[in-house]
Symmetry: C2
Subunit: 323 residues, 2 copies
Amino acid sequence: MTPAENSSRGAPGAFVVVDWGTSSFRGWLMSADGETLAESRGGEGMLHCTGGGAGAGFAPVLRDHLARLGAPEGVPVLICGMAGARQGWAEAPYLKTPTRLDALHEGAIRIDAPGDIRILPGIAQARPERPDVMRGEETQLLGVTEPDFTGLVCIPGTHSKWVRIEAGRIVEFSTYMTGELFSVIAQHSILTHAVEVAGPPPAGSEAFREGLATALAVPTALTASLFRLRAAQLLGFEQRADGAARLSGLLIGTELADAARLHGPFRSVWLIGAGALGRLYEAALTGQGLDVTTVDAEQASRLGLAKAAAKIWGALWEARVTT
Amino acid sequence: MTPAENSSRGAPGAFVVVDWGTSSFRGWLMSADGETLAESRGGEGMLHCTGGGAGAGFAPVLRDHLARLGAPEGVPVLICGMAGARQGWAEAPYLKTPTRLDALHEGAIRIDAPGDIRILPGIAQARPERPDVMRGEETQLLGVTEPDFTGLVCIPGTHSKWVRIEAGRIVEFSTYMTGELFSVIAQHSILTHAVEVAGPPPAGSEAFREGLATALAVPTALTASLFRLRAAQLLGFEQRADGAARLSGLLIGTELADAARLHGPFRSVWLIGAGALGRLYEAALTGQGLDVTTVDAEQASRLGLAKAAAKIWGALWEARVTT
C-alpha cells in the first residue's frame, strides 16, 4: 500500500505545496485536479531552519513533513514565502512591478537537490522613491484573483500590504509596519504600562473605534497620539484594558488613511485576512463605508500555490494521462 | 573649615537644586544670589532609586550627593523631574494647564524628612481629547523665559515636547514619542537589519535631510516609510550606515509636521536642546526657514530650579541678611 492509496479520497497525490513563512510551515498534499488530500503544519519556519547555518535545516524539515503527508516518493514540491528569501533555503529573485500574477510560476527557482522542488519568487517595487517588497502575499493574490482582476487588496499582518491590481497585473503596492509596531510598542516602550495585551482586541470595542477615528481624523498625529495613551492613563481617563484596543485602532487608522491617500479613492476592497486581526480590519473598512470582500488567508495561499503548480506541472500530468 | 568655605568663589552655599530624572541625577550647590558653587552628577535616577521599593533609595542617594557637593548641614534642597512622579520619591501632583510658569513653586511638595527638601510639580493638560503630561520640562521653561514670554518652545528628547506659552502661561502642549520610537524600532524591529546605530546621526547628513523631507511632504506615511527603509536596503538602494539618519529624519519630520499643524503657523521657535540631538533639531527647524533660538537644556534646568528656589526661600534669605 503506497501512502497515496492511504488517502481517504482515493485520488493519487500528485504534488505538494508549501507556504513556508518566517516562523511557520504549512504543507498540503494535492491531487492533480487540485483537491487537498492531506495537511501538515508546524513551527519550522525560516528562522527555525536557518538556526544551524544558511539552508542547513530546510531539506530535513521538508523530508519530515513529506513523510507526515504520506507523499509519494519523488513528488514535485512547490514552495512560496520566506524560504525563497536571500537568508532562506535558496534565493528566488523578486519579479519587478508591474508584473502579471499568472506569470509568477515563470520566476520559480529549482532547488539543487534530488526530486523537483521549486520556490516561487517574491515581488519587488524597485522604485527609489517607494521601494517595497513582498514574499508570500503574491501567491495569495494569485490564489484569490481571476486572470483579468482589477481592484485593491488589503492583506493585514505584521507587515500589512495594500496592493493595486489592474487587469491581473500588480501595478503598485505599499507595506505598513502596523503589526510589528503594535508588538514593539506594546512590549518595549513606556506604553507597556498603558497596554494590556492578550492578542488583537475585539473588533467591536469602543476603544478600538475611538483610536481608529482619532487616526483617520488626524493621521499626522500618530507619534503624539501614542504618548497620549500613556498620559490618559496617568490622568485617570483610561483603563489598561482599553490601551491595546486604542493602540490597535491608532495604528490601523493611520494605515487606512495613508492607503486611501496613496491608492484611493476606492469604494470596495478585497481583504485577505485571518482570525481576530482579519475581523478588526473588516470592522475598520466596513466602518468607512467600503464594500469589503473577505477571503481566508490560508485558503488563498493554498489556492495560489495550486494554480502555479498546475502551470508548472499541468502539461506533464496531461502528458501522463494521455500516453 | 566648613564645606561652604571650601568654595573657590567664597560665597556661602545657600541651597541645592537637583534635576532628578528617570536615569540621571544632576545636583548643584548654589549661593543665595544664584551662583553655581559646585556640581555633582551620576546615574542614580528614579529607576536606580526605586530598585529596592518605592522611595527607598532617594534619601541615601541625595545624602551622598550633598556630601560630594560639600553642602552645609541642613541646606534647603529643591528638586524637579521624575523624583516627583507617582512612582518616584513622593508625588508632586501636576498643575493643570493653563498655568503660570512663575507660580510653579507654589505647587512644590515638601518631603517628610529632616531638613527642607521640596519637589516641584509637573504639568498636566487634563483634556480628554488631548491628554498630556510633563515633569522636568516645566522647570526648563521657567528657566529660559521672562515672566511675560509668548512663544513656542521645542524640547527634543525621548518624549519631545512642543509647548505654547502666552504671557508667561503654558496654554497648550504636545508630546511626541520620537526618541523612544527611534530606540525601540532600531533595537527591536526588523529595521535593526537596516539601521546601524551609534548615537544620533550628524545633522548635516543627506540621508537625514531626505528622511526629513519625505516625512514633511507626506506625514501620514510614517508606518509605510519605515518599511521602505528595509525594502530600500534589500533592493540595494541604501547602506546600513544611512539607515539611522533616515529613520531619525522620518521621525523628526513627522513630529515637525504635526507640531506645525497643531501649534502653527509660526515663524520662530525656541529650542531647549543638548548635544547631537539638539543639533539635529536645530538643523531641521532652520531648514524649514524658522528663526531658532537655542538654549542649553542643562542650563535651563538649573536656572529654572534657581528661580523657583528664590521664590520659595528668597524672603527667608533677605530676612536673614537684614536682621
